[in-house]
């Protein structure tokens, strides 16, 4: 059995990581899941959260703000809208992200687009929860 798989983390602006991983915890839109080698092929969208990568060289955490992940026979690719290594994230950056989410929420409420309100509220809650998770 293969004990590692190819893991790629790419954002629109650059490729952040490409390595062999043993397990990756993904903040899926419908709940966290952990992908390990030989996982069934899956495509899932992401919610803002922590992406935990375990590899033989050590563990790395990334903060992702949305996007999607594709798991296939070759490995796992995460296409994140924005991804920042947790160790490099500052309180200010997170605050800007929360502020953006809050603005989106407000815009949805103001325009009375009810289906968007719940989405935006969830996004905002996810963002805020993220802050407490990584203790900033």
């Amino acid at each position: 059995m293969a004990d590692t798989m190819q893991f790629d983390l790419v954002s629109p602006e650059r490729s952040l990581a490409s390595l062999k991983a043993t397990a990756v915890q993904i903040p899926g839109a419908e709940g966290d899941m952990t992908a390990m080698p030989l996982h069934a092929p899956t495509i899932t969208t992401l919610r803002p959260g922590l992406l935990k990568v375990e590899s033989p060289e050590g563990n790395t955490d990334y903060v992702v703000t949305g996007g999607f992940a594709e798991i296939n026979a070759e490995g796992l690719s995460v296409l994140a809208e924005k991804a920042i290594p947790t160790s490099e994230l500052t309180r200010e950056q997170l605050d800007t992200l929360i502020e953006d989410a809050r603005a989106a929420h407000k815009a949805a409420v103001d325009n009375e687009q009810h289906d968007l309100v719940t989405d935006a509220a969830k996004l905002l809650a996810d963002m805020e929860a993220l802050g407490t998770h990584i203790a900033l």
């Binding site: 629109p12 495509i43 899932t44 999607f68």
Partner: protein, 291 residues
């Protein structure tokens, strides 16, 4: 016949121009390298994104309930042309080539009885198209203050475009930009982004059966707006590299022309200097003979 002083001033002024164009060429070369790197780094994302979209689109796209962004609104009456050009000039035919393509397309559509709307990105394209199409301009995106094009710029443009689409302002959107081939070749390109067409690449033919979480339709609906942003982002980066490439070769030509001009002027200057000396000598000699 210009005087010696005039010629001297002229040579000095061309020399100064050459210094400027030379400096601009070097700046453009440095910026080009950065722009190319940025375009290169964005490629893996776009490639994977398109592969996933192609898979999704082929399984969901054909159905009746397919999202409008991929299936279209069922009409193609109103066209939105997003014309992306540079914020600065002095880059050869770069801006005018893109504007020309957009103008041609717009005239074709108008001749076919369609309604055309235009959204301009970058000041130069706006200026070039203002005379013919000012009354169909629906907006303008100013990137003058942006030093380095980021994904967020593309997202803002995409948000604007998608907002108009949701409001039913247009049926088909096309972006105009210059594709970067190499430093001397940039191809003005028109690409339709709404309704989107994702083509499956050959090697994806054997794609595995995926589990989708949430449903295929939900993922597609979530990803399509991102697809618009991704395509706009890719186009912006291509445009950035093309602009610098075009400027670099334009400035290289200008520097060389200035060099040629200096050579010619120097010859002319020397000739008239010699003519002056000769005529002075003749005056002295004939004066001496007369005594």
């Amino acid at each position: 016949m210009p005087s010696l002083k005039d010629l001297k001033n002229r040579i000095q002024s061309v020399k100064n121009t050459r210094k400027i164009t030379k400096a601009m060429q070097m700046v453009a070369a440095a910026k080009l390298r950065r722009a190319q790197e940025a375009a290169e780094e964005a490629r893996p994302y776009a490639k994977r994104f398109n592969a996933v979209m192609a898979g999704l689109a082929s399984s969901v796209g054909g159905s009746e309930s397919a999202p409008k962004l991929i299936a279209g609104t069922g009409s193609d009456q109103v066209h939105l042309l997003v014309v992306m050009t540079a914020e600065r000039g002095l880059c050869g035919g770069f801006n005018s080539n893109i504007s020309k393509l957009a103008r041609q397309k717009a005239n074709e559509l108008i001749a076919a009885g369609k309604t055309v709307k235009m959204l301009t990105v970058g000041k130069k394209g706006r200026d070039a198209l203002k005379r013919d199409f000012e009354d169909v301009f629906v907006g303008h995106v100013d990137l003058t203050e942006v030093k380095r094009i980021g994904y967020s710029n593309a997202q803002d443009i995409a948000k604007d475009v998608l907002g108009r689409f949701d409001a039913g302002e247009f049926d088909v959107a096309t972006i105009f930009y210059a594709e970067f081939v190499n430093v001397v070749t940039q191809v003005p390109t028109a690409q339709q982004i709404i309704p989107a067409s994702y083509e499956a690449s050959e090697d994806e033919g054997l794609a595995a059966e995926y589990d989708y979480e949430p449903s295929e339709e939900a993922i597609l609906a979530d990803l399509l707006p991102r697809g618009v942003a991704t395509q706009i982002f890719a186009a912006l980066l291509e445009n950035g590299a093309s602009e610098q490439g075009a400027r670099m070769s334009a400035m290289d030509n200008a520097t060389r022309n200035a060099g040629d001009m200096i050579d010619q002027l120097t010859i002319e200057f020397n000739r008239s200097r010699q003519a002056v000396i000769t005529s002075e000598l003749i005056e002295i000699i004939s004066g001496a003979e007369a005594l």
